[in-house]
């Protein structure tokens, strides 16, 4: 009888393990990070030739902007991003502009013309897919702990449309 019990326990344990494994594998398969989740780490080269890693900025609030010079709304919101960067960098705010797979000549020409001074990162569609970005621009607001606090899809503004208000989003990020 004791032997039977062990056989039963073993079989049930194997089945439960198989279940936990398949179901666990299923549940962990979340493709894109959502608000409230930890921002997935990544490493990219910057246009300046330096290596950037998202986790290096833990302890700082981060505005992560996906943009391309071919995307008109991205181009329109660029000066706003630059303005906020200048306004809040003393308070620790980090702005990262992830470029959507353009040539360095194009990007350089663009940021020179726009007087952009925050770091521009070069992405070959890897981080874009990792973050599930399919509409441009998309901006993630990541807090000091590395948690995504807000995601804005589309052109941001200042004061006119509350859901796309960059000032409000940054204030929220800085107030913790």
């Amino acid at each position: 009888m004791a032997r039977n019990k062990w056989v039963q326990l073993t079989i049930l344990a194997v089945i439960i393990a198989a279940g936990a494994f398949t179901i666990g594998a299923n549940l962990s398969k979340t493709p894109a990070p959502k608000v409230g989740e930890t921002a997935p780490n990544f490493s990219l080269y910057g246009l300046d030739g330096a290596a950037y890693e998202l986790n290096d900025f833990i302890g700082h609030p981060v505005v992560l902007n996906f943009w391309g010079s071919f995307c008109e709304p991205c181009v329109r919101e660029m000066p706003l991003l630059q303005k906020k960067y200048e306004k809040y960098r003393d308070q620790g705010l980090v702005v990262l502009g992830v470029n959507l797979d353009e040539s360095t000549v194009t990007i350089n020409n663009f940021i020179r013309g726009m007087n952009i001074t925050f770091p521009i990162l070069l992405d070959k569609n890897v981080v874009r897919k990792q973050y599930g970005v399919y509409n441009y621009p998309t901006t993630f607001f990541i807090d000091e702990k590395g948690v995504i606090r807000q995601e804005i899809v589309g052109e941001m503004n200042e004061g006119s449309l509350p859901s796309h208000d960059i000032e409000k989003a940054i204030k929220r990020l800085l107030s913790g």
Binding site: Q8, A51, F70, V105
Partner: protein, 553 residues
């Protein structure tokens, strides 16, 4: 002749326990849940004992293995899965959900990055409900996999609980069976013999002739053949379990994948989900006039001449180009995939999308060429040297457009490239040009006004004409699926084409009782028994051996 089965109530540790006494009158102690005595076959379960119809011979009337009088939590879980009723419900639920899962296309084939709104737009309220219920990914969902796993658990536990008692019961069969057991069999003959010993000899001979194994004890006899047929259902359960386990391995990383990707001519791309890269050397659209009645030009094939590379270093290093090693070259055609290392790469579609990749500009001064600029239109280099002229490419717009009067690019595709070129001449003077080669437009933005401007002409172009759409597939569980299916079939064959037949003979004085049992083909058994009896001098019509009417009046 009633068995001594009855209800006994006794106290155990202060709690009332209700137990069935399962001791048979032949003295054998049977486990809880036994229907027919393991030794003599006499019904011990009360309802069976009190009726007088045919005996239910399923599992030889043995108790299911795990049945206990006082089940604990482990036993309760075990007993849940041990129930065939539960198994049937599980299968029905899975079936119904599978049907629901086929009503609308599943997320993996939906052409949208935002399936939630896709279902709402395409199928309205119903689609919204379908998606929110999780039916849009039925077959990949945790609950569907959970159900499959529960069916697997039920298969394993049901089988174990039944095959072990059945195996034991058949192994320790005794030739001497109780009269009641024999009289309640479906095939029965009752008659008289003058000389028991000589009749038994003849009978044994006749039964053996029909390839039965015979055991004799006193004036009782048991003939049995093809017992292995009883293992058929359990063998096919083993096959099913292997099959289900193989399907669950699809969840293991690297075991199952199906992913599409596109690669332009001349391009090298990373094959998604693998450590390999693929270069499209050339795509060919093969058109031939085929045997079609219309005689029209029919497309017969399209193929991608591809090179497969393995990444040997810096594969996931964003700071370095991956180092590739050529593995093989293959022409991928429909149904002729590139196969390597368990991966199959299929040609699934293509698009004619001509695109310039490299542009050569001839630079002339006063009509005299001073050199050529070779510009990679995907990622042009920032600096060039033409003889004594240094050129810096400071601006590149792949598809020129203008936003508020300022040059901009409409896309990343070089459909109408424009360049800003800063030239430093030998004498140190600088000039800046804006060049739009496709529009044969150029302007000198800055530089000495008095000199003749340089001119830029397209000297040559390289282009990619086709985008090839490929699909990479892996199914590492396939051999196991096949093995499971073969074992399943083997079980079906031995269970279907052979029958487990038994003949019991009992002689008390001059009274002869012959009973027989099979798991299928009763007609065949009656016929066989009639032939055996005929050899011993008992002439009887096979039909009259049918005892189905017993207990009914």
């Amino acid at each position: 002749m009633k068995p001594s089965a009855g209800l006994v109530v006794f106290k155990q540790g202060g709690a009332l326990a209700l137990l069935t006494n399962t001791k048979c009158e032949c003295g054998h102690q049977n486990p809880v849940g036994t229907v027919l005595c393991e030794a003599c076959g006499l019904p011990v379960q009360q309802e069976v004992a009190e009726s007088d119809g045919l005996l239910e011979m399923r599992y030889e009337g043995a108790a299911r293995r795990s049945q206990k009088s006082n089940p604990k939590l482990l036993d309760r879980i075990w007993n849940f899965f041990s129930s065939v009723k539960v198994a049937v419900y599980l299968i029905i639920i899975t079936l119904l959900l599978s049907i629901l899962g086929t009503l609308l296309p599943q997320v993996n084939v939906v052409p949208s990055y935002d399936p939630a709104s896709y279902y709402a737009e395409e199928y309205g309220k119903l689609g919204e409900l379908y998606y929110s219920l999780g039916l849009a990914d039925t077959f990949g969902s945790w609950w569907y996999k959970g159900l499959v796993l529960m069916i697997a658990a039920s298969l394993i536990i049901c089988s174990l609980d039944r095959i072990i008692p059945l195996y034991k019961a058949l192994k320790k069969q005794q030739p001497v069976k109780h009269e009641t057991f024999l009289k309640r069999q479906k095939v029965l003959y009752i008659g008289e013999v003058a000389d028991a010993e000589s009749w038994l000899k003849e009978a044994e001979e006749a039964i053996r002739e029909r390839r039965y194994q015979v055991t004799r004890e006193g004036t009782s006899l048991l003939g049995e053949k093809n017992r292995f047929s009883r293992w058929g259902p359990y063998i096919n359960h083993v096959g099913l379990i292997i099959l289900l386990a193989a399907l669950l391995t699809r969840g293991l990383p690297g075991w199952y994948m199906e992913q599409g990707f596109s690669v332009n001519e001349g391009q090298t791309v990373s094959i998604p989900g693998t450590n390999y890269y693929l270069k499209n050397l050339k795509f060919t659209e093969v058109k031939e006039v085929g045997p079609h009645v219309s005689g029209q030009e029919l497309q017969f094939a399209f193929e991608t001449d591809a090179i497969l590379y393995r990444c040997v270093a810096d594969c996931n290093n964003p700071f370095a180009e991956p180092q590739l090693e050529e593995v093989l070259q293959h022409k991928i055609r429909p149904n002729e995939p590139l196969k390597y290392d368990g991966y199959s790469i299929y040609q699934i579609d293509y698009a004619f999308s001509p695109q310039a990749t490299i542009m050569t500009l001839n630079v002339l001064r006063d009509g005299q060429p001073i050199g050529e600029l070779v510009l990679n239109l995907t990622d042009p280099a920032p600096a060039y040297q033409l003889g004594d002229v240094s050129v810096e490419l400071t601006g590149y717009y792949p598809e020129l457009t203008s936003v508020d009067g300022v040059p901009a690019t409409k896309s990343r595709l070089p459909n109408n490239p424009a360049f800003i070129l800063d030239m430093t001449l030998a004498d140190g003077t600088t000039e800046q040009y804006f060049v739009v080669p496709f529009q044969q437009y150029q302007t000198r933005i800055s530089g000495a006004e008095d000199s003749e401007p340089l001119t830029f002409e397209i000297g040559g172009m390289e282009a990619s004409f086709y985008s090839s759409y490929l699909m990479v597939k892996v199914e590492r569980a396939l051999p196991y699926v096949l093995a499971g299916a073969l074992i399943f079939l083997f079980g079906v064959v031995i269970g279907l084409y052979w029958q487990h037949r038994r003949i019991w003979v009992r002689i008390d004085g001059s009274r002869l009782i012959v009973a027989a049992h099979t798991n299928k083909n009763w007609y065949g058994l009656r016929d066989e028994l009639a032939k055996i009896l005929d050899k011993t001098g008992i002439e009887i019509d096979a039909k009259s051996l049918d005892n189905s009417g017993v207990g009914k009046s």
